[in-house]
């Protein structure tokens, strides 16, 4: 038997709600009420004084974690290689940014940090400083017991030079403080609705990945050893508990068969009408938990037959 999933929610799910219809306290309440145990935070979105954090805010944060029985999971940060138009960050400057976020994440109790580097091409190849920045930060990550996990995000599939470079880095350095974050958007196999201002020409061209890059879920096996955290990206689950874009009925059994027992951290990225995210996250957890129960029931039955 594989282990059980852990269920979390990223505050990214409540984008546009936070600050207009929802406070951080409310978000904690919604996450806990969905029976989740983990909360994912975006430094530059959810820390009002980023890159600073006041002791008052820390008190509030730990108070909320305690009240709602949630644990911090992943801390998202950005390495803005093109923060200035006139010159790009050096590896040392990128490392300084990453180390600052590692420190901040630790103060908030996080175990994972996802850096999002600037990119250099339409395939979203990260700026080459990523490697130097991470290498310069590994000792600190080890000291803080944090794993740095860049995100494998559409349109980048699992079989791609970017992922190969990450895996090569792990093998070369032998580090246990660098891994891969899988965003389930790579498994999307049906198109997203057009976004505001998007034209058919855009969808056929640079935005074609919004139709879904359809990575076969079986390819998870090739990288699962390096994946300590998964963002459960989704866009719309209807009232029959049917996801219109993400094939959970294939993702869940695959992850279960691979023995994944880390977090599935909801990243709702659908229509941004107020409060919709609250209900959508609940539907996603109901759906994934149902698929997990079904997998467990089927395999318990198999186990019994095997012993019969």
């Amino acid at each position: 038997m594989s282990g059980a999933f852990k269920y979390g929610v990223s505050l990214y799910s409540y984008t546009d709600d936070l600050g207009t219809v929802m406070t951080l306290e409310d978000a904690f309440g919604h996450i806990a009420d969905a029976h989740a145990t983990g909360i994912e935070l975006l430094g530059e979105a959810n820390l009002p004084d980023y890159p600073e954090v006041s002791t008052a805010w820390l008190d509030r944060w730990y108070g909320l974690l305690d009240t709602h029985k949630l644990e911090p999971t992943n801390f998202a940060c950005w390495i803005d290689t093109e923060a200035s138009r006139s010159r790009e960050l050096t590896a040392e400057e990128a490392a300084a940014q990453l180390r600052q976020d590692l420190d901040l994440a630790k103060r908030l109790g996080f175990r994972f940090v996802r850096p999002k580097f600037g990119v250099i091409d339409d395939e979203l190849t990260p700026h080459p400083v990523w490697e130097g920045a991470v290498e310069r930060s590994l000792d600190l990550a080890a000291k803080l017991d944090i794993v740095i996990i860049p995100e494998i995000h559409a349109p980048t599939p699992i079989r791609h030079p970017v992922v190969e470079a990450y895996v090569d880095f792990i093998q070369r350095t032998g580090t246990k403080h660098f891994g891969l974050l899988i965003d389930t958007g790579i498994f999307q196999d049906r198109p997203l609705p057009f976004w505001q201002h998007e034209t058919p020409e855009m969808r056929e061209g640079a935005m074609s990945f919004l139709n879904g890059i359809k990575v076969p879920v079986e390819q998870l096996a090739e990288v699962i050893d390096y994946v300590p955290f998964i963002q459960a990206k989704f866009h719309h689950i209807d009232e029959t508990l049917h996801d219109h874009n993400i094939p959970w009925e294939r993702i869940v059994p695959m992850l279960k068969s691979l023995g994944y027992s880390g977090y599935l951290s909801s990243e709702y990225e659908g229509a941004r009408d107020p409060w919709v995210a609250v209900e959508q996250v609940r539907r996603q957890h109901a759906l994934i938990r149902k698929l997990e129960r079904e997998y467990d029931a089927a395999h318990a039955a198999e186990g019994e037959q095997a012993h019969a």
Binding site: V21, G29, E279, R282, A286, R289, K290
Partner: protein, 133 residues
Amino acid sequence: MLERSHIQSSGFDNVSADGAVAGFRVRLRQPNYRGTRVSLVEGIDVTVDGEVYPAASNRYRIAGCEYAHGELEGLLDVRWPVGTWIDVIVPRPGGLTPGVHHVETIVWYRHPYFPPQFRPIPVRDARHATIVL
């Protein structure tokens, strides 16, 4: 801050008593423009997926205490303020199945300043809501 709909997404859940799932609860924000004495609420009907759970059979969790329907009338000094919620607790052995349900509510409100023929008036809401677990 609460959701705009009277029926809240969060709070919709199965409830246990003595180790067994005994029913479910529906969370409602104060739907009126003023908070009121609870005695002005003559009960709350709940309908889930077409099945009616009438006000008289439900229990009401308000400001930290739980009341039977018959107790509401006497709650002259307990209030349901604007911007706060109460839970309607509905008996149903085994609770509701996890998943999305269609939930309807009617708050029966007695407004003393409404024409007598509209006392109480039904204040309705309806939406889909999800039992996670």
